[in-house]
């Protein structure tokens, strides 16, 4: 069970529990924490995430399901690559650390902290304590303290709550210094990889670095013994053989600290919301929600969103927010909104452009620009005859036949 740390007032904790309703808080992992950095200005997201609301379930229930399905092929490939790298006491991994990173590793001990027989029912607290004990022994440089620690369970304070991170990394210790090792199955071709995927891996690794540093610092060690260079292991070119690259995550660490620090301001945000706000689905005995979807939509609308098209690829609620933002210039993208002089509503922008609306004082300049733009479009489109409704090609071309 997640405990509430001393940092959050009892009041706030109760508010968050109310917002969440009866459901268990959604467990954070490195990926969800990393996602917090993507749209920090969105109050809706901040409130839901801090309260641990299951946004995916909520979105599906109000009929705006998220489209973050994962292909079984991708999962299988990821698992296969990971087990290949970790096989025989992580032999391939050690070879890479030695050869590619030039680390003089003499003997290697490999401890998997997840799969200890008979301990499947351990609580996170117990697992965390065990991981902590082992890692601290290594930090102290004790004999036989180990080299590679697979799946250590780490903890991090998120918005005043202790969050245990679903472990998906190896901590590598050499001469009292730790490196986070992240195994990913996207390819590095000729030294390049998909920057979006590298970026996601970097920020997730940074979450682990931060959590390890926090743990070591609490135990009185210098947090800097966890390197800011993380080791990324990926398949090389089009093959299955792994390659190692060091990724400097100092910028990601700074971003995370900033955003985690910001989340503690949740009290201020909550103060502005209705006291009885809740996203409780009120499930019956069989787990079937009994609350009307409309009631949940109403609840969502009491918390401001900051929708941008980028949300579609990162937030489970994005399709709802997009529908809500219809008619707003924000839905056209940040650069379009800027070019429209920052006018909020498409309708307003067009009325100003046509001169049908007299601008408010702060809209004067934007209105002048829009009128000018509208004049040019009108001047140039009419004579060119390009107002044609773009219907399809007439029958008779082979193309239209294909179009059906």
């Amino acid at each position: 069970m997640t405990s509430i740390s001393m940092g959050t007032s009892r009041n706030t904790a109760e508010r968050l529990a109310t917002i969440r309703g009866g459901a268990k808080p959604k467990r954070h992992n490195a990926r969800t924490i990393a996602a917090l950095t993507r749209n920090p200005g969105c109050a809706r997201r901040a409130v839901l995430d801090t309260a641990g609301v299951d946004k995916q379930r909520l979105a599906a229930y109000i009929d705006f399901p998220a489209r973050f399905g994962q292909s079984g092929f991708a999962i299988a490939r990821g698992n296969a690559f990971e087990s290949q790298v970790k096989a025989s006491g992580a032999a391939e991994l050690v070879k890479l650390l030695r050869e590619r990173l030039g680390l003089p590793i003499p003997e290697v001990a490999y401890d998997d902290l997840e799969t200890v027989t008979g301990r499947e029912k351990e609580t996170p607290e117990v697992r965390y304590a065990r991981s902590r004990a082992l890692l601290l022994r290594a930090a102290a440089g004790e004999d036989g303290a180990g080299t590679l620690f697979d799946h250590p369970l780490l903890g991090l304070d998120v918005a005043g709550q202790r969050v245990y991170l679903e472990p998906d990394l190896i901590a590598f210790q050499h001469e009292g210094r730790f490196h986070v090792v992240e195994i990913k199955s996207f390819a590095v071709v000729d030294g390049q990889a998909d920057p979006g995927k590298v970026s996601a891996a970097a920020i997730q690794s940074a979450v682990y670095v931060l959590a390890m540093r926090q743990m070591l610092a609490e135990a009185g060690y210098d947090p800097e013994i966890v390197a800011h260079d993380v080791v990324l292991i990926c398949p090389r070119d089009f093959s299955n053989s792994p390659t190692a690259v060091l990724v400097d995550v100092r910028k990601q660490l700074a971003v995370l600290r900033r955003q985690l620090g910001r989340m503690t301001k949740v009290d201020t945000m909550l103060a502005a919301l209705p006291p009885n706000l809740t996203f409780d689905l009120a499930p019956d005995a069989d787990g079937v929600p009994t609350r009307a979807p409309e009631a949940l939509v109403d609840a969502l609308q009491t918390v401001d969103a900051r929708y941008a098209p980028d949300c579609l690829s990162v937030c489970e609620l994005a399709y709802f927010c997009r529908a809500e933002a219809r008619g707003c210039t924000a839905a056209l993208g940040t650069s379009a909104r800027e070019e429209l002089g920052g006018i909020e509503q498409v309708e307003t922008a067009l009325a100003l452009a046509k001169g049908e609306l007299s601008p408010a004082e702060e809209q004067t300049e934007a209105a002048a620009l829009l009128r000018n733009a509208a004049r040019l479009r009108a001047e140039l489109l009419a004579p060119a005859g390009v107002t044609l409704p773009p219907t399809l090609a007439p029958a008779g071309t082979s193309v239209a036949g294909a179009a059906g």
């Binding site: 399905g69 994962q70 292909s71 092929f73 991708a74 999962i75 490939r77 990821g78 199955s185 996207f186 390819a187 071709v189 000729d190 030294g191 398949p235 090389r236 070119d237 089009f238 093959s239 053989s241 098209p309 980028d310 579609l312 690829s313 219809r326 210039t329 839905a331 056209l332 993208g333 650069s335 379009a336 909104r337 800027e338 070019e339 429209l340 498409v346 922008a349 067009l350 452009a353 620009l369 829009l370 000018n372 733009a373 509208a374 040019l376 479009r377 140039l380 489109l381 060119a384 390009v386 773009p390 219907t391 399809l392 090609a393 071309t397 193309v399 036949g401 294909a402 179009a403 059906g404």
Partner: protein, 507 residues
């Protein structure tokens, strides 16, 4: 994004369908394009799963890889693709035309037409690039021999992917980008990357608004993703069982069973590609209906030049392109790309008043009427008397050009106009711009007929210049300086692929 395009997006929201942002088409559309729709297997590094490919809208060829993780099948796919693509490329190697080269001292030949490959989106171009990379170093001998067409295909795919980077080239185009160049939708640029949604805005059909049609188009059941990535639900619910069934059937040794299972798999892949195939040809049809800009042919001629040269290179047994550009190659290519980008931007503005309007809005161009003209003005301040006519252009556009700036008019190439005075009239909102002309006036001290604009003419003047920019000079590869690592290693040199390259870490 310019304000005009943003306004067009706003208009699209209100109108319920996409709005034109150009008056002409700015790219070449071939009479016989080849449409290529690749699909790749999730989780793998560009492993082909299948493709629809061909030049006939009603009879595409379907390629399927039953087990994309299998190396032989992967290169089997490459060989099958080569069977379609290479004859297509060859079909343009018939008629040539002579072109004067080296200031008319020499003649070289280029093909009168060239191939044009269309993929749905920029990820499709990425597929072409990576598939070229994974095939061009393959060898036809040794441990893992491939069909001789495979490395050749790799060279051509790499060639096409390189051209796709070149601003203004039309040899490999992403349909979403080609359409997005001409239409503004009422959604964001990010959503425009979805071909079905983009076309839904351009042609919502059946009384739907663009917004509603786009929402429908986003449903992967009705409009599967245009690839190369597949819909995860399709992977999990249809493809995975079909693949397993095929593997089991193949293992059983029963040909009928295997063939039936393959049929199921083929239909599954076809079902994901056919809707996009139709969208592609709808896109082609929409583009064809736009009149081409005046300079489109010139850019296509450049594509034909490059195509002709590359056929010579390949015929001469040229080595596959290196994995990465070496220092000199990189600098040269950047230089080429920068020149092409600038000239493409200027050419589009010169070809299309609606594109020029972007520059009028930012004050870098203006359109006005000639209100005064002194065509016979002589400047005798220098060593010799020169003809320097002056004209005054009066415009309602915003004028931000400064005195001394040199302007050009799209309709008067070869003539320069230096800004002498800029006088805004705040009461009328008009601005008088006095320009001094040089060039294109004939050889004598009186202007050739028609060489000086007359009072009443309506003209556009802009800071954009279409004049020739001489190419820069670079050291040879062997002369790569010490500041840049010295002469390159084999890695970034075009060389014959070694056995090592061909085996390529295939584990």
């Amino acid at each position: 994004m310019s304000t005009l395009t943003a306004l067009a997006r706003a208009e699209a929201v209100a109108a319920g369908h996409a709005q034109r942002i150009t008056t002409v088409r700015h790219l070449h559309v071939s009479d016989r394009p080849l449409v290529f729709l690749p699909l790749s297997m999730a989780g793998e590094a560009n492993a082909p799963l299948g493709a629809l490919v061909g030049t006939d809208p009603v009879e595409p060829k379907l390629l399927v890889v039953p087990q994309p993780r299998n190396r032989d099948q992967r290169f089997g796919f490459a060989a099958e693709l080569a069977e379609v693509l290479l004859p297509y490329l060859d079909s343009f190697r018939g008629v040539t035309e002579a072109v004067a080269a080296n200031r008319g001292r020499e003649v070289r030949y280029r093909y009168v037409d060239a191939p044009q490959v269309l993929v749905p989106n920029s990820a499709g171009i990425g597929f072409v690039r990576l598939f070229g990379r994974s095939t061009r170093f393959r060898r036809t001998d040794g441990d893992y021999p491939v069909h001789p067409s495979v490395p050749l295909l790799g060279q051509w795919l790499t060639f096409l992917a390189d051209r796709a980077e070149h601003p203004g080239s039309g040899m490999l185009l992403a349909m979403t980008e080609a359409l997005g160049l001409h239409w503004a939708t009422g959604q964001s640029a990010l959503e425009d990357a979805h071909l079905a949604a983009l076309l839904a805005w351009i042609d919502p059909g059946d009384g739907l608004t663009g917004a509603d049609a786009a929402v429908v188009a986003e449903d992967p059941l009705r409009w599967p993703p245009a690839g190369p990535a597949t819909d995860p639900t399709f992977d999990n619910e249809i493809l995975a069982p079909a693949m397993t069934a095929y593997e089991e059937a193949a293992a059983s040794g029963e040909e009928v069973r295997r063939s039936r299972a393959r049929g199921v798999l083929e239909e599954a892949v076809r079902s994901q590609l056919t809707p996009t195939w139709e969208l592609m040809w709808r896109g082609v049809s929409l583009l064809r209906r736009l009149p081409a800009g005046a300079r489109v042919d010139g850019r296509w001629a450049e594509d034909r030049d490059v195509f002709s040269n590359f056929t010579l290179y390949v015929d001469g047994g040229g080595y596959p392109q290196p994995r990465r550009d070496g220092a000199v190659n990189a600098a040269q290519r950047l230089h080429r790309l920068e020149r092409a980008l600038q000239s493409y931007a200027v050419q589009r503005a010169y070809d299309d008043p609606l594109v020029m309007a972007d520059h009028r809005l930012t004050g870098e161009a203006f359109v006005g009427e000639v209100t005064l003209a002194d065509p016979h003005r002589i400047d005798d301040s220098g060593k010799r008397r020169v003809l320097r006519p002056r004209i005054q252009v009066t415009t309602g556009d915003v004028v931000l050009v400064t005195v001394g700036a040199v302007l050009h008019s799209p309709s008067r190439p070869g003539q320069k106009a230096r800004v002498v005075f800029v006088t805004p009239d705040l009461s009328t909102g008009q601005t008088d711009v006095v320009l001094e002309l040089s060039g294109g006036l004939g050889r004598s001290l009186s202007p050739a007929p028609g060489s000086v604009p007359e009072v009443g003419d309506r003209l556009c003047y802009t800071t954009l210049s279409d004049s020739f920019m001489p190419p820069g000079e670079f050291p040879s590869r062997e002369e790569t300086p010490w500041t840049h690592g010295g002469p390159p290693q084999a890695y970034e040199e075009p060389v014959a692929p070694s056995v090592e390259d061909a085996r390529e870490e295939w584990a």
